[in-house]
């Protein structure tokens, strides 16, 4: 049914991972290749600025270089969550499968970014505060975001029919942003009423050197490009998964029919070669299938 062309069989000039007749062989395309290249170059640029060109922070020293990946990561995690909620809302409103899959892809990528945010946050915290974790408002809220996203992803994977799955996920996805808001608010009130100094206040509010600000900006842009690239690929992957599910049932029926036909042929041939009675049941099955 599908042909898999090896690299040598591709005619020259076949771009974007397509076979000779322009059929895509994966989730890549000309657009994503360009995007991916931009992302990689941007990452190198960010590394140069963040790790080399920009100065140390007056208070944090070199640890500020962690923030050049930590902060963009956090921003994109929250953006991903927002996209999931919007996608879920549009799906519930218009039954658009496109938005349903965008919501799914965004949530998974959001979980990855949230995980990265938490880990980099911990690696920033250890040398700064001496401990890997503190229950300050920001870290706690991010941990909660992670758990909420994991919950959404769990609903995405329940063993049920696709429309059931999509609808239930959409309700959970729709409530993601409200939940995040409520959780953030309550955690913040909780921690500030205890008069715990938000330990970030001392770190970030120091003089922000021009190049540091630039590095943060580059970080956000580069991570945004990476996010877009991941989103496109993950969306296409989700689309393929859904196609396979749909085709899966049709193919199972077709396979069973082919099986029954084959059985009928065999029993028919056996009858022609040897007129003695065949096994009971096979004959009637073969006849019934035909």
């Amino acid at each position: 049914m599908t042909t898999h062309l090896t690299q040598s069989e591709l005619p020259p000039g076949a771009a974007g991972g397509r076979s000779g007749d322009g059929v895509p062989t994966g989730t890549g395309s000309r657009g994503t290749r360009i995007l991916g290249l931009v992302a990689l170059l941007g990452l190198v640029f960010l590394g140069l600025i963040g790790l080399w060109a920009s100065p140390e922070d007056r208070i944090q020293g070199n640890l500020v270089r962690i923030l050049y990946v930590h902060v963009p990561s956090a921003m994109l995690a929250y953006l991903a969550c927002f996209i999931t909620t919007v996608g879920s809302a549009v799906y519930l409103w218009k039954k658009s499968r496109w938005w349903d899959l965008v919501a799914y892809a965004s949530a998974e990528i959001g979980a990855v970014f949230t995980g990265i945010t938490l880990v980099t946050g911990m690696l920033w915290g250890r040398p700064t505060w001496g401990v890997y974790w503190v229950w300050d408002a920001r870290l706690t809220s991010t941990a909660m975001l992670f758990l909420l996203l994991l919950g959404y992803l769990a609903v995405r994977r329940i063993p049920a029919a696709a429309p059931v799955r999509s609808k239930r996920s959409a309700i959970v996805g729709l409530l993601l942003v409200p939940n995040v808001i409520i959780v953030r608010q309550s955690v913040e009130w909780w921690r500030t009423l205890h008069q715990e100094a938000t330990l970030f206040a001392n770190g970030l509010e120091s003089e922000i050197h021009g190049l540091m600000l630039f590095a943060w900006f580059v970080g956000v842009v580069v991570f945004g490009v990476i996010f877009a690239w991941l989103l496109i690929h993950r969306f296409r992957l989700a689309w393929l998964q859904e196609q396979i599910e749909e085709h899966g049932l049709e193919r199972a029926i077709a396979d069973r029919r082919a099986e029954a036909d084959a059985e009928a042929e065999i029993s028919g041939a056996a009858e022609a070669a040897d007129p003695s009675p065949t096994e009971p049941g096979t004959d009637s099955n073969g006849e019934a299938a035909r």
Binding site: L92, M144, L147, L148, L150, G151, A154, V155, I158, P159, A160, A161, P163, V164, K167, R168, I171, V172, L174, L175, P178, N179, I182, V183, Q185, S186, V187, W189, W190, L193
Partner: protein, 222 residues
């Protein structure tokens, strides 16, 4: 809508009155949690009395999970789900009814747990007004959110593990608010507690609206 709600609530509560599962299993479970906390936290070191509000509400939350699971398990028997859909009852009413039934069970549970905590942890109960209003708010919040996520997880083979994963992060603000309010009440500084009650009220409102709107689409599935 409210008449349908009363119908459903009555049915659920009558079912409970007859089978007494909540009374025979959920309440003992809650008390068991209190006892386990005492084992874990060593009653001689004063941690128990300082942590009482938190431990109380965690016991309530875990027991609520059981109560909500139960409320939807009874629906999956004998094609009840289809019967509900075809009955012509307003889905919003069904939602409110189920939530109300769960709320009633939770309220009873909270009272019994309160007695348990007063006895087992030697808590000196004070600030009664704040305590009661907090319980009302928290019960509404837990029932509202719990019913919505309960129907979401209902009818699935993975529901026992899915519901806690979905519901507990969502209810974290309720835990925070109720605990702070209780702390304020027990320590006499009740003025600090009322803003948290406000949070509970907002939470309950948001989820009642979400439930009323979202229950219908969730119910009408194959």
């Amino acid at each position: 809508m409210f008449r349908d709600a009363a119908l459903i609530a009555g049915k659920d509560l009558r079912l409970e009155a007859r089978s007494r599962v909540a009374l025979n299993q959920v309440v003992p479970f809650a008390l068991l949690v209190l006892v386990l906390f005492a084992f874990a936290l060593d009653p001689d070191r004063g941690i128990l009395s300082r942590a009482t509000p938190g431990l109380y509400w965690i016991a309530v939350l875990f027991s609520a999970l059981l109560a909500i699971q139960r409320a939807f398990t009874i629906e999956s028997a004998d094609g009840n789900r289809d019967a509900l859909r075809l009955s012509g009852l307003d889905p919003a009413g069904i939602y409110l009814g189920k939530a109300a039934a769960i709320a009633v069970q939770l309220a009873v549970l909270e009272v019994l747990l309160g007695i348990g905590v007063a006895v087992l942890y030697s808590t000196h109960l004070a600030g009664w007004g704040l305590l009661v209003v907090t319980c009302v708010g928290a019960t509404a919040a837990i029932a509202a959110a719990g019913t919505l996520y309960g129907v979401l997880a209902a009818g699935l083979r993975v529901r026992e593990t899915l519901l806690p994963l979905l519901l507990l992060p969502v209810l974290a603000p309720v835990l925070i608010a109720s605990t702070r309010a209780f702390e304020a009440a027990l320590s006499g500084a009740t003025a600090d507690g009322w803003p948290w009650v406000g949070l509970l009220a907002v939470f309950a409102l948001v989820y009642i609206v979400a439930g009323v709107v979202g229950f219908g689409p969730l119910l009408e599935e194959t």
